[in-house]
């Protein structure tokens, strides 16, 4: 297969996945904003949304205030923002169009129609009138796109590059979401700080690793009831944003605790949006397309996968979640570069 074709497929899948995750995060923020909360907390949520995508600076240049309205406008429909849903859906469609002959008719038509319908929804003002429904629409179009791909495409190289794109992007997005959400909790137990906060963090870990209910309880008391309430909504929102709320209940049959949320979204191999699950898919698809020069990239991917497979949440939290996720994002980024070099960027003559 042409390297350029593989490149378009890889990016088509990445952009579609990114559109979905952006919609998921916006949706969670929007749902949170319907709950009674302080203005600061609400604003913090929307700011988090911007920093996940590393667009806070660009946003500040063009919008005066951080409000649900401006952030939704910017993250949904701003053509100048490369991370907006609009930009992602258009890029996904343009990449698909460049290789429409490689896709099945169904895959191409799904991608094309998503873009056409998006423009109609924007025209109708759907994203500002009923944001929840509109975000749901984006998610479903992404589900459809993936489903049509799995349901109709020959499982050849084209398919594998699409899958690699989807899961690499998802790993990146889940990691960013975790990073920001753990960062935005006012009594952040998992920040990279030292001192009293660090001490409390370790306290919290003991609660998990020891499985000691008593310590856990004492911490809740320390934080106060209001925080407990906030915690519940905050963490359940994070879970919902990755369709993980019900999964959490099923897996832990217990109250929602941040460290378990982290474990579920980082290490659980059977949780479809966890880092471990994503990397597993990346590795198995990479193996199917391996070529003479891709050894190093496969090694990089395999190692990342193994670290997740054999990692423990207490160790991760001991190094600091932020540090861990930052490093993870760097490794995912390096992996993406390796894939581009070995498969996508033309082999030199």
């Amino acid at each position: 297969m042409l390297s350029r074709t593989a490149d378009h497929l890889f990016w088509m899948a990445r952009y579609m996945e990114r559109a979905e995750n952006t919609a998921r995060m916006l949706d969670v923020n929007y749902q949170m904003s319907l709950l009674p909360q302080s203005e600061e907390a609400a604003e913090r949520g929307w700011r988090g949304m911007l920093s996940i995508n590393e667009v806070s600076g660009d946003f500040a240049k063009r919008y005066r205030e951080v409000t649900p309205h401006t952030v939704i406008e910017y993250m949904v429909n701003d053509a100048a923002n490369g991370s907006s849903i609009r930009s992602c859906l258009m890029a996904a469609r343009e990449n698909a169009r460049a290789v429409r002959g490689t896709l099945t008719t169904e895959v191409w038509e799904t991608q094309n129609q998503t873009w056409l319908e998006f423009q109609r929804l924007i025209g109708d003002g759907a994203f500002q009138k009923s944001p929840g429904e509109a975000f749901e629409w984006v998610k479903f179009r992404s589900h459809l796109s993936r489903g049509v791909t799995v349901g109709t495409m020959l499982q050849d190289e084209a398919f594998h590059f699409l899958r690699i794109g989807s899961f690499l992007e998802r790993a990146d997005n889940t990691a960013r979401l975790l990073d920001v959400k753990f960062h935005s909790v006012p009594h952040d137990l998992f920040g990279n700080g030292a001192g009293p906060i660090g001490a409390r963090m370790r306290n919290g870990i003991a609660a998990v690793t020891g499985g000691d209910g008593l310590q856990s309880q004492s911490q809740s008391q320390e934080s106060g009831n209001k925080d407990v309430e906030f915690d519940f909504y905050h963490w359940s929102a994070v879970l919902r944003s990755v369709s993980g709320f019900e999964v959490y209940r099923k897996v832990y049959r217990n109250v929602i605790r941040p460290e378990r949320v982290a474990e579920l979204l980082i290490l659980r191999p059977d949780m479809p949006r966890s880092l471990a699950a994503c990397m597993h898919e990346v590795v198995s698809n990479l193996h199917r397309v391996a070529n003479e020069q891709s050894k190093d990239t496969l090694r990089l991917a395999g190692r990342l996968c193994a670290d997740l497979q054999y990692g423990r949440i207490d160790e991760i939290l001991a190094t600091g979640l932020h540090a861990y996720l930052t490093q993870f994002l760097e490794r995912v980024n390096a992996l993406g570069t390796g894939i581009s070099r070995d498969f996508l960027v033309p082999v030199s003559p």
Binding site: M1, L2, R4, A79, M90, G101, N291, P346, V347
Partner: protein, 480 residues
């Protein structure tokens, strides 16, 4: 106004025999059905993305990814009786064979120039003549593997009609994907029509095309790798390039995917370099090889011409075919047929005045209001004057242009192009049409029955080009 020829109705208004079945069917349809079907067709074309990009509108700041338009599709088919097609097919075969012989001759012995049948300066002084091709032997001696011959029917004074070749397109003719998609659409919208009529199928065109391309691979190659070379997704015919590559199951490449080493062409793949033997290129000569032609071109591949001249890769169509489809060469095609084949031309040429000829020029300047004046090297319906439809100011502007540079222009009588009933806002009305059959030349000359019918949707307009607001129709070759 000259009497017209309508494809469906004879001068008395009665429905012609070959349209009888369709006419009866149409009268059985409740009026809103056709409107519903039209809307349906539009939705499907948009969803499928059968669009073309508009020249000069590609950049709108990147927010919309270029302007894509639908080519309007008309639901009423253009029907040609099978016996007329058989005659046309013989004529096309003859004409394209002679044109290929002509190009081969131009780039070899130039017998036809020596014989004085075609003026030598018209050929070797032509902007489309490629000196680089002189003496180069191409696979099978074929130059124009894919030819699109534009044919119109014009009314005779007695009310009958005759077919004329309007122009030959021997470089990179486009439109065949619309021929195929239009048929698919008609069969989807009106399956029952095809149950009632014996319409010759066209869906095997990609098969014939692949067979043609494989048959002209360099002789040393057993199982040739064939690719389609496109300028990219912002080209107006990108849909067609992608469509044909997909239908043939071959790679759609851009210039950046190719490179030349030791006079062989390779494409860059995820598994390393792969040799390419035949390139169905949809990129103009000028852009094919920055080393040989326009150095600023990023659409081609450096070193391609050298690999081609070494016989290591086949280009379809060959470089330099434009020397035979130029409007200034067109008037000589009937003589070529006699010269190379010793046969009488089967298809008519439109009488043509060459403004470079002083007598012709005088006639043209005296009759600008009655003639169609075209640029000899123009394409796409740009830069032409349709005398009877032009304002006095437009005529004067052309008069000045023709006087300033007569060699650039040719003129033809305004043909009363035949009309075909077409859906327009006010209902069904006659609109002018033409026909572009696609002729494939490899080991043999082949074509699918029919071609692409284009229709000028504006009342009275004779310009059918899609870039100028033309539409298309399904074309039926109908067995009685």
């Amino acid at each position: 106004m000259k009497p017209g020829f309508d494809e469906m109705h004879d001068p008395s208004g009665a429905v012609r025999e070959h349209y009888g079945g369709y006419d009866r069917w149409l009268h059985e349809q409740p009026p809103q059905v056709m409107q519903t079907r039209r809307d349906e067709a539009e939705v499907i074309f948009r969803r499928v993305g059968i669009t073309f990009a508009v020249y000069g509108a590609k950049d709108d700041g990147g927010t919309n990814g270029g302007t894509e338009r639908l080519i309007p599709f008309d639901l009423i088919p253009r029907v040609i009786p099978a016996h007329e097609w058989r005659e046309m097919e013989r004529g096309l075969r003859q004409r394209v064979t002679a044109l290929n012989r002509f190009i081969h001759d131009v780039y070899h012995g130039q017998e036809i120039l020596k014989a004085g049948v075609v003026p030598a300066d018209q050929v070797t002084g032509n902007a489309q003549y490629r000196a680089e091709m002189q003496g180069v032997d191409v696979a099978g001696g074929i130059y124009s593997h894919i030819a699109g011959i534009d044919i119109v029917r014009a009314a005779n004074p007695d009310g009958s009609g005759s077919y004329y070749v309007l122009e030959d397109n021997l470089r990179v003719p486009s439109g065949v994907s619309y021929m195929l998609e239009n048929r698919k659409m008609m069969m989807r919208l009106f399956p029952e029509l095809f149950g009632r009529h014996r319409v010759a199928p066209v869906a095997h065109y990609p098969d014939l095309l692949l067979e043609t391309l494989r048959s002209v691979a360099p002789a040393a190659v057993n199982d040739p790798t064939v690719v389609v070379l496109t300028p990219g997704m912002y080209n107006s015919a990108y849909f067609e390039h992608a469509f044909l590559a997909q239908q043939m199951g071959i790679e759609l490449v851009e210039g950046q995917d190719l490179y030349v080493r030791d006079n062989f062409v390779y494409m860059r793949t995820t598994q390393g370099p792969k040799r390419v033997d035949v390139i169905y290129r949809r990129v103009d000569d000028d852009f094919l090889d920055p080393r040989a032609f326009r150095p600023d071109s990023t659409l081609g591949c450096a070193g391609l011409l050298a690999a081609y001249r070494a016989g290591n890769v086949t280009l379809a169509n060959a470089i330099g075919t434009g020397v035979a489809d130029d409007k200034s060469i067109y008037p000589y095609v009937p003589k070529m047929i006699e010269f190379y084949l010793g046969e009488k031309p089967i298809l008519n040429n439109v009488p043509t005045y060459l403004c470079r000829d002083p007598d012709d020029l005088g006639h043209v300047l005296d009759h600008l209001g009655e003639l169609v004046v075209k640029e000899a090297h123009g394409a796409g319906g740009y830069g032409m004057l349709v005398g009877p439809a032009a304002t006095a100011a437009e005529i004067e502007r052309f008069r000045a242009a023709v006087k300033a540079d007569p060699g650039r222009y040719i003129a033809q009588p305004t043909l009363a192009l035949s009309t075909c009933p077409t859906f327009v806002e006010s209902g069904i009305a006659p609109r002018h049409i033409d026909l572009r059959p696609f002729v494939l030349s490899g080991k043999t000359v082949q074509m699918v029955p029919g071609g692409l019918t284009r229709v000028a949707l504006k009342e009275g307009s004779l310009v059918v080009n899609s870039s100028q607001g033309g539409g298309t129709k399904d074309t039926w070759i109908l067995e009685a």
